[in-house]
């Protein structure tokens, strides 16, 4: 039986109450000229414009999927898929996800290699309010792709407002690797770890802010070669969940989660293609 306090609720009022003091002007960083010129949602976010670095992104060949309406902003399913051969000379090397209406717009950054086989990643995220979510992918050839999705966040009157974790630190890492994946067919890998993903924006019962404590990095290697890596921010939901792919070849998969305290947990699994 676990009963804990909400970590980061999908309720704007309570969030602002706890977050306003720390954030001051918030993380949107709107500057007047960019606002005037902005025609697309991604042009309104400084972090995204920096990432694009002047290049004109394509809006095709990338898909960002989130529910149109989410009844619980503390855990919203998100997936990004990018059309790519994922070959040694043409692959998606990074996918960045932003929430324009969150106190800190960065949600997560994923780094992929050709060993991933497929540029499809999924996780669960915290959305503070109704907003536009933006995904930016960069290929090894320097092409940029962008997708946006407007999400309405509401909290149902009959629904709870948690989605929190009683875990104190890195707890119960779970991995699902298909038992005998078909060679040549990228295998879907699921991972989950129990962790509170404390935002540093939430007050405890004593009225003091609970210090930030998050899993900030997740790495996957196959026999020492990097396959997939994720950089996580406060907007990844408690108990980070990640779904991605690996091109099957016999070897040992090593998964590691690293907290911002420096603590790391590792799990290994054998990959045994049919």
């Amino acid at each position: 039986m676990r009963l804990t306090k909400p970590v980061f609720r999908g309720d704007r009022r309570s969030f602002l109450r706890s977050g306003a003091g720390v954030l001051g002007v918030g993380g949107l960083l709107l500057s007047a000229p960019s606002l005037l010129l902005a025609r697309q949602p991604w042009e309104r976010l400084d972090v995204v414009r920096e990432l694009l670095d002047g290049s004109e992104p394509s809006t095709t060949g990338i898909d960002l999927d989130l529910p149109l309406v989410s009844e619980d902003g503390s855990s919203v399913s998100l997936s990004v898929s990018v059309d790519s051969p994922m070959s040694d000379d043409d692959y998606v090397e990074s996918i960045h996800v932003f929430g324009a209406g969150n106190p800190n717009p960065e949600i997560a950054a994923f780094r992929l290699t050709p060993a991933a086989g497929k540029a499809v990643v999924a996780t669960r995220v915290r959305l503070n309010e109704s907003q536009t979510v933006i995904a930016v992918a960069r290929t090894s050839r320097g092409e940029m792709k962008v997708a946006t999705r407007d999400v309405r966040v509401t909290v149902s009157g009959c629904l709870s407002r948690n989605g929190d974790s009683s875990a104190m630190g890195l707890d119960n890492p779970r991995v699902r690797v298909p038992p005998n994946p078909q060679a040549g067919n990228p295998a879907e890998i699921l991972t989950l770890i129990n962790h509170p993903m404390e935002t540093g924006l939430r007050e405890g019962e004593d009225g003091e802010l609970i210090p930030k404590r998050i899993v900030e990095r997740f790495q996957v290697e196959l026999d020492g070669d990097p396959v997939f890596e994720a950089e996580l921010y406060q907007a990844v939901s408690a108990n980070p969940y990640l779904r991605f792919h690996v091109k099957p070849r016999a070897g040992e998969l090593r998964f590691s989660w690293t907290e911002d305290t420096g603590e790391t947990v590792e799990v290994t699994e054998t990959l045994d293609p049919a």
């Binding site: 039986m1 676990r2 009963l3 529910p67 149109l68 309406v69 989410s70 009844e71 619980d72 503390s74 855990s75 309405r152 509401t154 909290v155 149902s156 009157g157 009959c158 629904l159 709870s160 407002r161 948690n162 989605g163 929190d164 974790s165 119960n172 779970r174 991995v175 699902r176 699921l190 989950l192 129990n194 939901s237 408690a238 108990n239 969940y241």
Partner: protein, 435 residues
């Protein structure tokens, strides 16, 4: 119901205006053709549809109203969990349409609606005939997404019932509980949001635990959840610990509670990370979408649910079609019978107003969800909603939830209020009174 839509003066003003043009259209002839005030067809006779039919006639008795509902006796989902717990007879949740026919003059057709042609404004019925409408109300409830959970098709539901539509499925689940060995495991798989009746799975395991504690005390209840939080969670978990000790175990999404595969023959489920659980009785509450006739009408979006205009509950996609109840995207209002009833009154007022070419008064809605944890142990959550900045939102400071630290007397009174609520809303919707 006391919060419902509008102040009485405005309603009366409006009724006066529409009453002036009232002239009953003769049956079977499209109302517009003889200058009558209009023909409204309502599809679905649950909380939303029956309420819509009744209130259309109350707001303008001259309207021609046809209700299309296959069954002559409708069983509500609310309070079926009490039947499963042994607190009620199944017939006590059944309601008929006599008041709508006899007192309000609604033409009730006990047949199915097979298709809707929005351009022609027609509904095709089970016998192939068509009804023309000026305005259409759809209250189609939910449809199970038979393709959304591996191994859980319609055949599987005969072995591992969902019992999420009251009727044969409810009776099947009850028979299975009665046949289960003492010491067996009852497993309920709860879906991700949104789904019909957010507190429903948690009340269900409470009532099943009550039945098992009474008759099969060595049994266990395992609740595998696709969510990390649920409605009235703290109150439910306090109540479970207090009344049932460790009989009920809840496994959250983040503890690998999401069921991804069902083997109905073996009564076995598999979770996302490969855990397998064997049940004595397996109750799968599967992912859902709007009732299928909503698809035929073209009012659903990619989510499978129906987006509506908040102030009127008219479809955003098809004009002259109003949709109420569980099928709609009306969050933060929950998918509850109470809400369907309140939405139906708003849609009825919107229709009466639009046919009379009058502006309708601003809408507001109320909801209370009672849940019974054990006999004499009730909890509730309530809210009031209005349109704010073009979207439905909870009215600041309205509603609330039962206190965590209430005494047994408070819980007992809430259980009594729950029965009062059920009797009142059924009387408001179908005109039926407790036997």
């Amino acid at each position: 119901m006391k919060h419902f839509i509008t102040n009485r003066r405005e309603t009366l003003k409006l009724l006066g205006a529409t009453g002036a043009v009232a002239a009953l259209g003769s049956w079977g002839v499209p109302a517009w053709s003889n200058g009558g005030p209009g023909h409204v067809v309502v599809v679905g006779g649950g909380f939303g549809g029956a309420t819509a039919a009744k209130y259309l006639k109350r707001y303008n008795p001259a309207l021609q109203v046809t209700l299309v509902e296959p069954v002559e006796r409708f069983y509500t989902c609310p309070f079926t969990n009490l039947y499963l717990g042994g607190l009620r007879e199944f017939e006590s949740v059944g309601h008929d349409y006599r008041e709508l026919k006899d007192r309000y003059g609604v033409n009730v057709l006990h047949t199915t609606a097979q298709d809707i042609d929005a351009a022609a404004h027609t509904v095709t019925l089970g016998d192939g005939s068509t009804l023309r409408y000026d305005r259409l109300v759809l209250s189609p409830g939910i449809e199970i997404r038979w393709d959304a959970l591996e191994g859980y098709g319609e055949d599987a539901a005969e072995k591992a019932p969902h019992a999420w539509k009251a009727g044969e499925q409810t009776l099947l689940l009850k028979r299975q509980l009665e046949a289960m060995d003492d010491g067996g495991v009852f497993i309920l798989s709860a879906p991700a949001n949104p789904f019909r009746c957010p507190p429903g799975p948690y009340e269900r395991v409470s009532m099943v635990a009550h039945y098992l504690k009474t008759h099969k005390p060595r049994s266990k209840v395992l609740l595998l959840d696709s969510k990390d939080g649920f409605s009235k969670q703290g109150l439910f978990m306090d109540g479970w610990a207090e009344v049932y000790g460790d009989m009920i175990e809840w496994v959250s999404l983040s503890d690998d509670g999401r069921v991804v595969r069902v083997d109905a023959d073996r009564l076995e489920v598999e979770t996302e990370f490969g855990e397998r659980h064997q049940a004595g009785v397996l109750n799968v509450v599967p992912p859902q979408k709007a009732g299928w006739i909503a698809d035929r009408a073209g009012v659903t979006d990619e989510s499978g649910w129906v987006p509506i205009k908040p102030a009127t509950f008219e479809s955003t996609q098809v004009s002259d079609i109003y949709v109420v109840g569980d099928a709609t995207v009306a969050a933060p209002m929950p998918k509850s019978g109470f809400v369907a009833n309140a939405q139906a009154k708003v849609a009825a007022m919107a229709i009466v107003s639009s046919l009379a070419e009058r502006e309708m008064p601003p809408a507001s809605w109320a909801n209370t969800c009672y849940s019974i944890i054990a006999p004499g142990y009730g909890i509730s959550v309530a809210g009031v909603y209005s349109v704010q900045d073009g979207a439905i939102a909870e009215v600041e400071g309205s509603g609330g939830i039962s206190p965590r630290d209430a005494d047994p007397d408070f819980r007992r009174r809430e259980a009594e209020h729950a029965v009062g609520w059920y009797n009142a809303i059924c009387q408001d919707t179908w005109g039926t009174r407790p036997a």
